[in-house]
C-alpha cells in the first residue's frame, strides 16, 4: 500500500474499529481531519460546546457498549472536554478522545490555542498519548481503542499535532495487540471461586451488592441467574441500576445515601455481602466503620486497586464479572457442590425480615392534589414508557428521584453521571443515546439548575433530528444543595435560589423544539403523553413542589442505618 496522509490513516483506524458516529467540534488544529471526515462514512455530530461532545460520546458508549469517540480541537476545545473526560473516567466508560495539537515545532512555545492537554488529563484518563512520531500514529490509535475497551474500561486521549496528521505515512497492517505491561485478568482463580461459593452456601442472610461493573461486562444475565437460582436479594448502586430487573421481587433497589430503607438495613444485617463490579464508594457505604459489619465480604472486580481500597474483603476475586459469575453458576449447578433447592429454602426466613422492612418503610412520598410531586412525575414517566425508555439524568435531586422511582428492567437504559456527579450531563447524554438508538424513547430527567449548564445542545438535538424529551423538575432551586441547607445549615439557602429562570416553554420554541408545561398534578399525565407522541425535541416544564426533598437520606458521614425517612 502506498503512503497516505495521517488524516486518512485516522479515518481508516476509526473504520477498522467499527466507528460510525463521532461527536465533536472543529477548529484550526483539526481542520484537516474534519476535511477528511467529510468524505468518510462516519457521521460527526456537531455539538455546541465540547463538553457536550464528550458527554454525548460517553452516553453513546454507555447505551451501546462500544467505544465512544469525540474529536476536539486544540487549546480551549480540549480543555472544554476535560469535564466530560473526568466524568467518563469516574464511571469507567470506554472513550477515545482525539484532540488536535499545534504542530510539533510549536509545542512548548505557548503557541495560539496550545495547551498541554496530555498533562492536564493525565489524572482523569486511563491512559493518554501525544503522537510525536508520525509512524506511531496508527499503532497508538489501535492501542488507544484496545486500552479503552478492555479491563476496567476508561477514557483514552490521543493528542494529534497538526503536522503529524498532515504528513504522509505508511498504513501498517493490523496485528493482534500485545502489550507486555497491560494484560487485564478476565478469568477468575478457580480456588477463589470455590471459596466464595462455599461461603455463599453457608450463608443465612446473603446480599448481592451490584455495581456498574456488571453492566460494563454485560453480565446481567449471569447475575440474574445466580440471584434467582439461589434466591439472594439484590441491591444496586446508582451505576448498577438495570443490571438486575428493578421489578423483580428479589430487587431491593438502590443502597446508600438515598437508597431504600430495605437495602440499607439488609446490608447492615447480612452475614455475607457479595460485591460484584462495585467499588464501595462513600455515597454507598456511609460511615465505613458501620458498613456491613456482620458480614463476610466477597468482592469481584477486574481492577485490583478497587479491592480492599475502602473495605477489607475476605474473598477477593480479580476477574471480569461475567466470567466470575458464570463460574459461580457452574459451581452451584454441580450437584456435588450444592443442593440448589436447599440453598433457596434456607434464605426464606431472611426474606421474611426483608419483606418486613419493605412493608414498614417502602419507598414513598406524600401525594398532593395541588402541587406536583417530582416522584409522581417519574412514576408517570415510568408507567407511560413501560419502564423501557432510556433515561438520562442531570445531577442532584432529579437524578436521585429518577434512580428511586423509575424501575429499570434492563441494563444500559440508565445513563447518569455517578462518580463525578456532573451537572449538565443529561441533555448531551440524551443526544448521544438517541444517536445510537434513533427509534427508542430517550428522556432526560433534569432539574432547572443543571439543564442550563448545557442547554445549548438543544440546537444539536434539533440539527440531528434527535427527538429527545426533557422533563424539567422545576423548583426554582438548586434542589439538592437546598435540601442539605434545609437539613444541616438552618435553612440558610445560600446561593441556591434560582427564581429568575428562562421561560423554558418559550426557550424550547426559540430552538425550534416544543415546550409543554404542567403546573398541577392533573396535567402531568397529559403533558407526558403529548410529549411522547411528538417526533421532535420536547421540553416538559413541571412546576414541582418547591421544597420537596429526596428521602430516605443518610446524612453524610453517618451510618447507613441512620436514615432520615419521609
Amino acid at each position: 500500500m502506498g503512503k497516505i496522509t495521517g488524516c486518512k490513516a485516522i479515518v481508516q483506524c476509526l473504520q477498522e474499529e467499527g466507528v460510525s458516529t463521532i461527536f465533536g467540534y472543529p477548529g484550526g488544529a483539526v481542520i484537516d481531519l474534519y476535511d477528511e471526515l467529510m468524505d468518510a462514512d462516519i457521521t460527526n455530530v456537531l455539538v455546541r460546546h465540547e463538553q457536550g461532545a464528550v458527554h454525548a460520546a460517553d452516553a453513546y458508549a454507555r447505551v451501546t457498549g462500544k467505544v465512544g469517540v469525540a474529536l476536539l480541537t486544540s487549546g480551549p476545545g480540549a480543555t472544554n472536554g476535560v469535564t466530560g473526560i473526568a466524568t467518563a473516567y469516574s464511571d469507567s466508560i470506554p472513550l477515545v478522545v482525539l484532540t488536535g495539537q499545534v504542530p510539533r515545532a510549536l509545542i512548548g512555545n505557548d503557541a495560539f490555542q496550545e495547551v498541554d492537554i496530555v498533562g492536564i488529563t493525565r489524572p482523569c484518563t486511563k491512559h493518554n498519548y501525544l503522537v510525536k512520531n508520525k509512524e506511531e500514529l496508527v499503532p497508538v490509535l489501535r492501542e488507544a481503542f484496545h486500552i479503552a475497551r478492555t479491563g476496567r474500561p476508561g477514557p483514552v486521549l490521543v493528542d494529534l499535532p497538526k503536522d503529524v496528521v498532515k504528513d504522509l505515512i505508511n498504513f501498517p497492517e493490523k496485528t493482534p495487540i500485545r502489550m507486555q505491561n497491560y494484560q487485564p485478568n478476565y478469568i477468575p482463580h478457580a480456588g477463589q471461586i470455590a471459596k466464595a461459593c462455599k461461603l455463599i452456601s453457608k450463608a443465612q442472610k446473603p446480599v448481592l451488592y451490584v455495581g456498574g461493573g456488571v453492566i460494563l461486562s454485560d453480565a446481567s444475565k449471569e447475575l440474574t441467574e445466580l440471584a434467582k437460582k439461589l434466591s439472594i436479594p439484590v441491591t444496586m448502586t446508582l451505576m448498577g441500576l438495570g443490571a438486575f430487573p428493578g421489578q423483580d421481587e428479589l430487587s431491593m433497589g438502590m443502597l446508600g445515601m438515598h437508597g431504600s430503607y430495605t437495602a440499607n438495613m439488609a446490608v447492615a444485617e447480612c452475614d455475607l455481602l457479595i460485591a460484584v463490579g462495585a467499588r464501595f464508594d462513600d455515597r454507598v457505604t456511609g460511615k465505613l466503620d458501620d458498613f456491613a459489619t456482620k458480614a463476610k465480604i466477597i468482592h469481584i472486580d477486574i481492577d485490583p486497586t478497587s479491592i480492599s481500597k475502602n473495605v477489607k474483603v475476605d474473598v477477593p476475586i480479580v476477574a471480569d464479572c461475567k466470567h466470575a459469575l458464570s463460574a459461580m453458576n457452574e459451581w452451584f449447578d454441580d450437584e456435588e457442590h450444592s443442593d440448589i433447592e436447599e440453598e433457596a429454602a434456607r434464605h426464606l426466613p431472611w426474606f421474611e425480615i426483608i419483606r418486613g422492612w419493605t412493608a414498614a418503610h417502602p419507598l414513598s412520598y406524600k401525594m398532593d392534589d395541588k402541587e406536583i410531586k417530582p416522584q409522581y412525575v417519574i412514576e408517570k414517566i415510568n408507567e407511560l414508557t413501560k419502564g423501557e425508555a432510556i433515561i438520562t439524568t442531570e445531577v442532584g435531586q432529579n437524578q436521585m428521584w429518577a434512580a428511586q422511582f423509575y424501575k429499570f428492567n434492563k441494563p444500559r437504559n440508565f445513563v447518569t453521571s455517578g462518580g463525578l456527579g456532573t451537572m449538565g450531563f443529561g441533555l448531551p447524554a440524551a443526544i448521544g443515546a438517541q444517536m445510537a438508538f434513533p427509534d427508542k424513547t430517550v428522556i432526560d430527567i433534569a432539574g432547572d439548575g443543571s439543564i442550563q449548564m448545557n442547554i445549548q445542545e438543544l440546537a444539536t438535538a434539533r440539527q440531528y433530528n434527535c427527538p429527545v424529551k426533557i422533563a424539567i423538575l422545576n423548583n426554582n432551586y438548586l434542589g439538592m444543595v437546598r435540601q442539605w441547607q434545609e437539613l444541616f445549615y438552618k435553612k440558610r439557602y445560600a446561593s441556591t435560589d434560582m427564581t429568575v429562570q428562562p421561560d423554558f416553554v418559550e426557550l424550547a420554541k426559540a430552538f425550534g423544539a416544543v415546550g409543554l408545561r404542567a403546573t398541577k398534578p392533573s396535567e402531568v399525565e397529559d403533558v407526558i403523553k403529548e410529549a411522547l407522541s411528538i417526533k421532535n425535541v420536547v421540553i416538559m416544564d413541571f412546576t414541582i413542589s418547591r421544597e420537596e426533598g429526596v428521602y430516605p437520606m443518610v446524612p453524610a458521614g453517618s451510618s447507613n442505618t441512620q436514615m432520615l425517612l419521609v
Binding site: 496530555v118 498533562g119 493525565r122 489524572p123 486511563k126 491512559h127 501525544l130 510525536k132 486500552i147 502489550m179 507486555q180 505491561n181 497491560y182 481492577d303 485490583p304 486497586t305 480492599s308 481500597k309 477489607k312
Partner: protein, 161 residues
Amino acid sequence: MKHTISVLLQNKPGVLSRVTGLFSGRGFNIESLCVAETIDSGVSCLTLVTKGDEAIIEQITKQLHKLIDVIKVTDISEKEYVEREMVLIRIKAEANTRAEVLRVIDIFRGKVVDVSPRSYAVEVTGSASKIKAIIDILRPIGIKEIVRTGIIAMPRAGASK
C-alpha cells in the same frame, strides 16, 4: 513503616510525571525517588521510598501497577535486599577541625572530592542508616551543604519473601 519500592517503567517522556502525579493525586507520600535507565535503554528503574501502613502500601503497589507504562512493581523491603545511597557533604574545615573531619570521613570510608581553605566536600555511600550516622556526627562540626541521591536498592540473589 518505610517501604522501598522498585518500579520498572517504559523509558518514555511523561512516565515519571504519571508516577509522581499518582502519589500527589492520591495523597501518598514520597520520601525519596531515584530513576535511571536499566541495561535495556527502553526500560527505566525507579526506586522510591515511601511510608504507610499495610493497606496504603498495598494501594500504592496496585495503583503503580495499574499505570499502563509500568512493567513491574516490587516492594523490595518485603525481602532481603541491599540498599545504597550516596551523599555529597560540604563540611566546614577550619584549621582546628581539619584533621578531625578527615578522621571521621576515613572511618565511614568516605572520599574527599573537593578541597578549599575552609571546607571539604566529601562523598559517602552506604545504607540509609550509615548516611544518617555520618550526618549526625558531622553536624556539630558544621555542615554547609548536603546533596543526596536518594536510595537505590536491589533484592539479594536468591532472596524470597
